[in-house]
Structures are given as structure tokens and as C-alpha cells.
Amino acid sequence: MRHLISVLIENESGALSRVAGLFSARGYNIESLTVAPTEDPSLSRMTIITSGSDEIIEQITKQLNKLIETVKVVDLSEAPHLERELMLLKVRATGKDREEMKRMTDIFRARIVDVTDTTYVIELTGNQGKLDAFIQAIDPALILEAVRSGVCGIGRGERVLRA
């Protein structure tokens, strides 16, 4: 089962490698990992997409909690939550493809953020499925470069993760 785990951790050098090392040392999956400081610069927030049986997910959250610098861990996927990922896509945009690319951008509510005579850079935000669908929808031969931020997530409503 796919899980989305959020971690509040001290913003210290080495914290990221402790988390990454934990996953590789114990053979856990990481599908994506994002990390950046929060509104409190002394804290970082990580969002980890992983998968495994209930027992493995239980171990993952326990092992993350066990790290000395970890302040809080929550499995966001246990309750209603939002997931967002950002993608920047550089595409070939010449001839009739130029108009088609613009149309697809509009359909997906994406934005063109860089334009040259021959290329566009398209910015698209959404959950993983939406980003995947956009890539599926356009001609793969026209994709020059794709960069995805990895998923970040937050609980819906009053569910709050704070130190």
C-alpha cells in the first residue's frame, strides 16, 4: 500500500542523510522525498512517499520517530489530506505542435512560463496522477526535459502537524 508520511525534523546538517540512510539500511522503499524548512527555520518538513505492508509502515514510522532529531511523524494517508507536486516540462514547440501544446496546457490548467521560438517550459501543479496524465497526453517525442519536485502533503481541516 502506498503511504504518505510527513516528518518534522530539526533543520540540522545531516538530518536528511539520517532519514535517507535509515530507508536504505533497512530496505524500505522511497518513491519520493521532499524536504524544505518550515515557517520556523529551525525545523524542516519532509514528505516521504513509501509503500509496504502495515507491519512495514508501522516499523517505518517507529524508526523515523527513533531518530534523535525527529520532532514528529504522521502518516497523512491515514486520513483526508491534500497532495501536490510541481512539474516543469520543457517541450518542443514549433509548427502545428506549438498551438497543440498551448491547448493541452489550458486543458490541464497548466501555465507556460518560458517561451522561445522553438520551446516552451510548462508549469503544472497537482497530484501525482494529474502530472502523469499530462505526460501521457502529449507526444513523448516533443518532451525535451521533465523535472518533478516530488510530493508534498498536508492534512485536511483541523488536522495540524506542528512541533
Partner: protein
């Protein structure tokens, strides 16, 4: 007044009441050694290899219950220390390791004796720090000691660049530490504890299964009191020998791969298992699937939530310090007025006594035959009246020592159970002797293990440590040979050692007493001489034992608790 970083290190250690530091100097720690030279409150023990520095600090911690301290230089000093650190981590032993590092401006430039010590040790420490500013040094050392000794203990490394130990700063040692990210649970959940007490009272076939956590939490008294109140059988893992008196009738011996027949069958057939600071590891229960084939209620007390339901699902998890939780158990039993052991356990004890009647540890010592290793440990137990601190290395001799030396008290049995590190025995004995200068300290080892840290005989001479080394010399990597005999068709690949040294002569070359024992009749007199005539000297007893002897009972890796091999006849 401004102090250098090096002086701050020394001040911090003094404030932590550190009495001994085990270490080895080098370029990156010269300032710190200079500061040590100018004080006499802390004694520095100069080892002959950094691995032994950490092992000795670890052994000191195991024997005393206090935090052990090691000091090593950068680069090879730190990498040599890694085996020691991983060994302490494997058994959750509180050790603080101070390592020198190249100056901060040179970090990352592949400087002389530079390695990424924090990176290399990260997977085998409870936590580690690189101190980049002398202003943070004192607080970091305070945190290191706090983290090492609280919660589930473990090694903590502090990496100190040379310019940080040279820089000056005002010294202030914090009295307390507060970390928002680190607050180990001490007290157990009262509702869970009440449920657990009820389950134990209603059990028809209960067993107490205690692990190293009981020793680490100094909870042997509480465990013993609870066992007596419940009248239930007790098994203690390799790491918990001494947590319950081995001479008591309720003690079934050690469970697991080389555990007793009665302990393994009782653990398997119990209806309620109270696991206390134990972790159902592969050397104890073998296959988790086989273990799960029998229905039972598992109560699991551990200070580390990640140890609970890791290999075996717990029905009643209790997170907390085992000493506090066991005290709560006793208090609830008091409130409920349960004092005397109950008659309902009689049928359970009858079954256990039938298993015990198999006498799975029986052996015979022929008067003129080769010396049996079991006889050596038995005799050692008699000669030391069961009162020695015994350290071991890893292999057959370790199992024989665990099986035949009956430990009645905690912190008397020091060995590497988790990582299984050959070479720990001698440095553990050194650490134990500094922790308990009044106690007889014996290192039970083998001719292969002892050679992994034999250079420490030199340290023992320098510090006049009157250790007794009992070398069970069978000329083989015995446990490897045993597996090759049983599971690899008798193909003894690289398990025989040619050209062994004359150990007795080697011991004498280091300035100690060396005695070789070949015949059974010579064993007891030699051991007695070691503790009388040579009481104040290190004695190396090179005991030539039967090279074909195997450790039984045995459960093959991956098999279950009921699949024991009791002797060669079972094969």
C-alpha cells in the same frame, strides 16, 4: 575566563564524573591530550589499538552501569573505532566516543588523516555530532552523555575538529538538557499494565522471557520479585544472564539457538509470554513463522517502541523503562492482594520438570581423556564460587561459558550478543576491572578470538590488571567448524589454524604468567593457583580442549524452538 576547546572537553568529562577515558593519541587530538596531561582527576588508559579503546569503554559501561568514554584521533583512529562502536550499538551500551577531526577549514579537502567520521559512523551510533564552533562544544558533550544514557542507551560520537579544540571560549556547562525532539517514555501505560497483570494472573502456562533491557535498566530485583510472586518460570537471553539467579529452581536457562531444552519448549508452549526488554531476535526464536504456529498472548515491555511487534506481533505492547513498568506490576499485585504462587501452575511445572529431566547440558569428563570445555567452565565456576565477572569472545567458548557458568547477579557476564564481535573479551575484561577493581575478572576466550585483540596484553601490563584469561584452545574456529561438520558435509574450509603461537610463552613475553594445561587433573590446581599464588598477576591459561566437541543443544538457523538437536546422536 576563557578555556580552549580541549580544556572544555576535560572540564565536561569531569562534570560528568568520568573516572577513566580509554584512548589513543594522534595529530587531531593533540590539544585534548595536552589538556589531559595537565589534570589528574581523570585517568587515561592507553590502549594498543582504537578498537580496544571502545571495547574497553563499552566493557566499563556494562560492568558499572555508567557511561564509558573513548577518545581517538581522526582518520584511521576513527575507522579503527568503528567495530567497537557497532558492537556497543548492537547491545545498546552507553558509550561516548570523542574523535578528533582535521581543522574545519580542511574538511572536505581529502586532508591527511581525514575521513567523514560522522558519515561512516551514522548507521552504528544512537546519534553523532560534528562540532563546528567551540561555543557549542560544552552543550554538545552534555547532550551526548544525556542521549547515551537515557531511553534505549547506545553509543554517541562527538567529532571535534582540531581548530575547535584549540579555539578559546567561555566555559559554561549546562545543568540539564532539554530537546524538543528527544523525550524517551519512562512510565508505562497504566491501562495496558493492568491488562497485562490480569493476563498473567489468568495464565495457565506463563513464562517470563527477559532480555538485555533488564540489565540495562538495572531491573533484576524487580524481575526476580515478580517471578517469585507469580511462581512462573523464567528464561533469560544471552544478554540477560544474571538478571535472575541461575541457581534458582524457577530459572530454566537461556532460550534460543544454544538454549536449554526446557527453556525453548516452555517458551514455545507458554500461553502467556511476558517479554521484558527482549526482542525475539533470530538467535532466540529462530523462525518467526514457526514461533507464530502456536497461539499465545504476548506481553512486550520495551523502552524502544520499534522493538515491539518488529519480528513477533505483541498483543499487549507496553512502552516504558522496564524497571518502572515492573515496579508497577508489583504494586498492582500488592493492591490486588496476590502474594503466594498459585496452585494452578502445578501442571505446567510438571511438564517443565519432565523437559528438565532430559538434562540437556549433561556431559562426561573422562579422567584421562581430552579436557572437555564444559568441564573447564564448571571448574571455573567452582573455583570462583560463581562470583567472578566473566567476559567472553564469540564462538563455541562463548556458548559454553553462557551455559555452564551459572550467573546469579547482573552485570557479571559481558559479551557481544548483538554484533557478535570476536576480540571483545580481553578489552571487556580490562574495562570491567577498572569498573570493579575489587572483583575477580575472567576472560573466557578461544585461540582464534583472543588473537583479534591480543595486543592489549601490553595495556594489561602497563596498568597491572590481574585478569585471568582462560583460553579454550581447540585449534579450530570452533563454531565455524561445528557448522561445517553439521551442515557442510564436513568440509572444513579455512576453519583450522596452523602455526598457532605458544600462548603461554606469548603471555610471558608480555610480562605475564603463562600456563599450559593439557590434562583434566591439572585444570583445577592451575585455576586455583591463578587466583591465589598469582592473585595479583595476569594469568593466561592455555587449556587444550577436545577439538571435536560441539555445542548442544542446537537449533539450526531458520528452524523453530521445538526443532532442537540435543546431541550428536540426534543427527
Amino acid at each position: 575566563m576563557l578555556l580552549t576547546g580541549a580544556e572544555i572537553v576535560v572540564q565536561c568529562l569531569q562534570r560528568e564524573n568520568v573516572k577513566y577515558v580509554f584512548g589513543y593519541p594522534g595529530g587531531a587530538v593533540l590539544h585534548i591530550y595536552d589538556a589531559f596531561f595537565q589534570q589528574d582527576q581523570i585517568r587515561h588508559v592507553l590502549v594498543r589499538h582504537e578498537q580496544a579503546a571502545v571495547h574497553a569503554a563499552d566493557g566499563y559501561a556494562r560492568a558499572s552501569g555508567e557511561v564509558g568514554v573513548a577518545l581517538v584521533t581522526s582518520g584511521p583512529g576513527a575507522t579503527n573505532a568503528v567495530t567497537g562502536i557497532a558492537t556497543a550499538y548492537g547491545d545498546s551500551i552507553p558509550v561516548v566516543i570523542l574523535s578528533g577531526q582535521v581543522p574545519t577549514a580542511m574538511i572536505g579537502q581529502d586532508a591527511f588523516q581525514e575521513v567523514d567520521t560522522v558519515g561512516i559512523t551514522r548507521p552504528c551510533v544512537k546519534h553523532n555530532f560534528l562540532v563546528k564552533d567551540v561555543a557549542e562544544l560544552a552543550e554538545t558533550i552534555k547532550k551526548a552523555f544525556h542521549i547515551a544514557r537515557t531511553g534505549r542507551p547506545g553509543p554517541v560520537l562527538v567529532d571535534i575538529p582540531k581548530d575547535v579544540s584549540a579555539a578559546k571560549c567561555a566555559f559554561h556547562y549546562p545543568e540539564t538538557v532539554s530537546m524538543r525532539s528527544y523525550n524517551p517514555v519512562v512510565k508505562g501505560h497504566q491501562g495496558q499494565i493492568r491488562k497485562a497483570v490480569k493476563a498473567l494472573r489468568e495464565a495457565k502456562r506463563p513464562i517470563l522471557y527477559a532480555g538485555g533491557g533488564v540489565i540495562l535498566a538495572d531491573a533484576a530485583d524487580e524481575l526476580t520479585a515478580l517471578a517469585r510472586r507469580l511462581g512462573a518460570p523464567v528464561t533469560t537471553t544471552l544478554m540477560a544472564l544474571g538478571a535472575y539467579p541461575a541457581s534458582d529452581r524457577q530459572f530454566l536457562g537461556m532460550p534460543g539457538m544454544h538454549g536449554t531444552y526446557e527453556a525453548n519448549l516452555a517458551l514455545h508452549h507458554a500461553d502467556v509470554v511476558l517479554a521484558v526488554g527482549a526482542r525475539f531476535d533470530d538467535r532466540v526464536i529462530g523462525s518467526p513463522e514457526h514461533f507464530a504456529s502456536e497461539p499465545r498472548t504476548i506481553i512486550h515491555i520495551d523502552i524502544d517502541p520499534s522493538s515491539i511487534s518488529k519480528r513477533v506481533k505483541a498483543d499487549l505492547p507496553i512502552v516504558g523503562d522496564v524497571r518502572h513498568v515492573l515496579a508497577d506490576f508489583l504494586r498492582i499485585l500488592d493492591e490486588e492482594g496476590l502474594t503466594a504462587p498459585r496452585e494452578t501452575l502445578a501442571p505446567w511445572w510438571e511438564r517443565i520438570e519432565q523437559w528438565r529431566a532430559r538434562r540437556c547440558l549433561a556431559y562426561e569428563q573422562p579422567a584421562d581423556g581430552p579436557i572437555k570445555p564444559q568441564y573447564v567452565i564448571d571448574t571455573l565456576w567452582k573455583v570462583t564460587k560463581g562470583e567472578a565477572i566473566v567476559t567472553s569472545d564469540v564462538g563455541q567458548h562463548q556458548m559454553w561459558a553462557a551455559q555452564y557458568y551459572r550467573f546469579d547477579h547482573p552485570r557479571r557476564w559481558l559479551n557481544s550478543g548483538g554484533l557478535g564481535t570476536m576480540g571483545v573479551g580481553l578489552p571487556y575484561a580490562m574495562g570491567a576491572r577498572f569498573a570493579r577493581p575489587d572483583a575477580p575478572v575472567v576472560c573466557v576466550t578461544g585461540e582464534a578470538s583472543i588473537q583479534m585483540c591480543i595486543q592489549e596484553l601490553s595495556t594489561c601490563k602497563q596498568f597491572r590488571l590481574p585478569l585471568k584469561i582462560v583460553n579454550l584452545n581447540n585449534g579450530y574456529l570452533g563454531m565455524v567448524r561445528q557448522w561445517q561438520e553439521l551442515f557442510h558435509g564436513g568440509r572444513y574450509s579455512e576453519s583450522y589454524m596452523d602455526s598457532l603461537p605458544d600462548f603461554a610463552a606469548l603471555a610471558r613475553a608480555y610480562g605475564h604468567v603463562g600456563i599450559r594445561v593439557d590434562r583434566p587433573a591439572d585444570l583445577q590446581p592451575a585455576l586455583e593457583r591463578a587466583f591465589t599464588e598469582h592473585a595479583n598477576e595476569l594469568v593466561f591459561l592455555d587449556v587444550r580442549i577436545d577439538p571435536r566437541e560441539n555445542v548442544y543443544p542446537m537449533i539450526q538457523g531458520g528452524k523453530g524452538l521445538t526443532e532442537m538437536i540435543l546431541s550428536a546422536n540426534d543427527l
